[in-house]
Symmetry: D2
Subunit: 173 residues, 4 copies
C-alpha cells in the first residue's frame, strides 16, 4: 500500500481553490518580503520553492490535518466543547498555531519567526481568510495559520537558497 | 463568554474513562520512572502533578483536539485521504507525534525526550491503547501519543519539583 | 548540591543591568500590546508576570545559555567559524531564534507567534540592543531574541490569566 | 562574504574525529533500527542519508553551537553558574536537549520521538561519549544529545525515503 502523497497534495490544492487561495500570490509576497535582503530574487524562485515545500510529506500531513479540522468545524461535526471554541476563534486556543509551528519549523527556526510575524500582521491572503471567518461564511481557524506558515517557509527557504555558500558540494560529498 | 476549561477537562476525563485509561496508573508509572533519581517520591506526588498538568489550558486544548481527531476517525468522519492514513496508523504520518510534542514541551525539553522514549517503548497504558487499535475495536492514533506525553510531563515535572534549589523565593520576589 | 536557580536569576538580571535592559519597560510594552484585547490590564499585572516567568528554571536555563554565548562572543572566545558567524549576525544562522523559541514555547504556542512578531518588528528594548550591535560596541545576537521571547511570554501569560474561565479550581481539584 | 558551510562541516567532522565518533557506526545503527520496518535497507542508504543531513545548514548551525559549548566547558571558559551546571551534567538543565530537539525536528516529528528514545536508551556511540564524561576526561553534555539527534534524523529520513509513495513527481511538478 502506497502512502497517499499525491492524494494529500490534491486534497490540499483543491481546498485552496475552494477558498480562493492563490499560491502565486503567496509566492509573490514571500519574494517581496525577502527582496530587501536579496534583490535578485524572481517570482520564478518563489514559485519553485512553494511547490517544493508542498511536495514534502510532513508539510502535507500537517496541512491536511489542519484543513480537515476546519472542514469538520464548517459542518458542525467537531465534538463539544471543541466546536464552540473553534467557531468563536478563541484567542487562547493555540492548537492552530501549534500545527503551523510544527509545519514552519521544518524549514528552520527563521521560518518560525516569519510565521509569527505573518500571524500577527496578516498577509493579503490571510486577511481574505479572516474576512471569510468574520463574515460568518466559513471557519478558517486552522487554514489561516497554515497559509502564514506556508509563506514563512517559502521566505525561509529563499533566504537559505540565495545566501552564497562556502560549500562546494562536488568536492565535499 | 467564559473559556470552557472545565468542559474541556470533563471531556478529556470522560474519554479517558471510556477507554479504560487510569490516571493513577499513569501517575504511578511516572513516579516509578523517576524514583531511581529521587527515591523519596511518593504516589501522592505523582497524583498531585498529573492533576496540576491536566488543569493547564494549553494541555487541555491539545488533548481535546487530539481526542476529537480519534473520535471522528472512529466514526469514519475524517475527510479522505486522512481517514485512511489514520485507520492504518501509517508510520510516516507524524501529526499525532507533533501534537504530543507540542503538549510535552510545555513541561520543558526533558519532558519531550521522556515522551520520545515512552512513544517508542510503550508504557502499560499505551500498550493497552495499542491493543485496542490492533484488535480493530477503536482508533487510538492520537490518544496513544497524548498518554505518553502526559506521563512524560508528570516525570519532567517531578524531576523539577524535587531538585533542591538555591532559590529562596521569599527574598527574591 | 543545590541547583543554582538563584545564581542563574542573579546572573541574568546583572546582565540585563549591564546592557541597560529595563524589565519594567518590557512588562509595560507587553501590557500595552495586550490591552486592546484586555482593557483592564495594569502595569502591576505585567510586573508580576515577568517576575513569575523569570523564576522558571527552564526559562533561566535558556536565558543563561544565550547570554553566555553573547558574552563569549564579546570576548572573541567562540571557536571559529562560530565566532565570525555571530560577529556578522548572519541572517541564516538561526540558533539564537531556536533558543528563543525553546523559551517562549514554555508559555504556549501563542507566545511563539508573539515572539516571531517581535523578532521581526523590533520592540523598543530590542532596538536598543540592535543599536549596540550595529554600533560595534557589543554583540547582542542571542540576548536580542531572548528579550523578544520574554516580552512574548509575558503577553501570552497575560492573555491566559485574564480570559475568564469555566474552571472552578476549588471544586475540580 | 560567503556563509561558512564548508568550514562548519569541517569543524563538526574534526570534532567527531577527536572524540572518536564514527559516522559509519551511527549510520549502521540507524539502518539496523529501521530494518524491522524496512528489511531492504542497506548500509549504503544510511551512509548517504547521514551525509545529506550533515550538509544541511540548519543542522550544521545547531551542531556547531552545541560543540562550541562543550569545547568552552572543557576549557573552563563558560561563565558561572553555567560552567558548574554543565560540569555536573545536571538533569534539570535541558538546553542540550532543546538544541537537539531543534535539530531533529528539521527531519520531522518522528525524528524527535526517535531522538527522545535514543537519549534515554543510550546508543553505542552515545555510551562512549557518556563514558568520556563520567571518567572526567571530557565534557560531552551537548555533543551527546546531538549524536542521538543525528541518528534519529537518519532513522526518520530512511523511514520517509523508503515508504512507497503515490507521488509521481514528474507529472506533478
Amino acid at each position: 500500500m502506497k502512502y497517499p502523497d499525491k492524494e494529500m497534495f490534491n486534497y490540499v490544492l483543491n481546498y485552496f481553490d475552494e477558498l480562493g487561495i492563490d499560491l502565486d500570490e503567496i509566492a509573490k509576497q514571500a519574494v517581496e518580503h525577502q527582496k530587501k535582503y536579496l534583490p535578485s530574487l524572481t517570482l520564478e524562485d518563489g514559485h519553485k520553492r512553494i511547490y517544493a515545500i508542498l511536495h514534502k510529506r510532513e508539510v502535507l500531513n500537517n496541512l491536511m490535518t489542519a484543513i480537515a479540522l476546519d472542514e469538520l468545524a464548517n459542518k458542525g461535526l467537531l465534538p463539544e466543547p471543541l466546536q464552540s471554541v473553534v467557531e468563536r476563534d478563541a484567542g487562547v486556543y493555540g492548537v492552530d498555531e501549534a500545527l503551523a509551528i510544527a509545519n514552519s519549523i521544518i524549514a528552520g527556526s527563521i521560518a518560525v519567526t516569519n510565521y509569527g510575524f505573518l500571524d500577527v500582521k496578516k498577509s493579503k491572503v490571510a486577511k481574505h481568510l479572516d474576512d471569510l471567518q468574520k463574515s460568518g461564511k466559513m471557519i478558517t481557524v486552522f487554514i489561516d495559520d497554515q497559509i502564514s506558515a506556508l509563506q514563512a517557509m517559502v521566505e525561509g527557504s529563499l533566504a537559505h537558497k540565495k545566501e552564497t555558500s562556502s560549500f562546494d558540494e562536488d568536492t565535499l560529498y
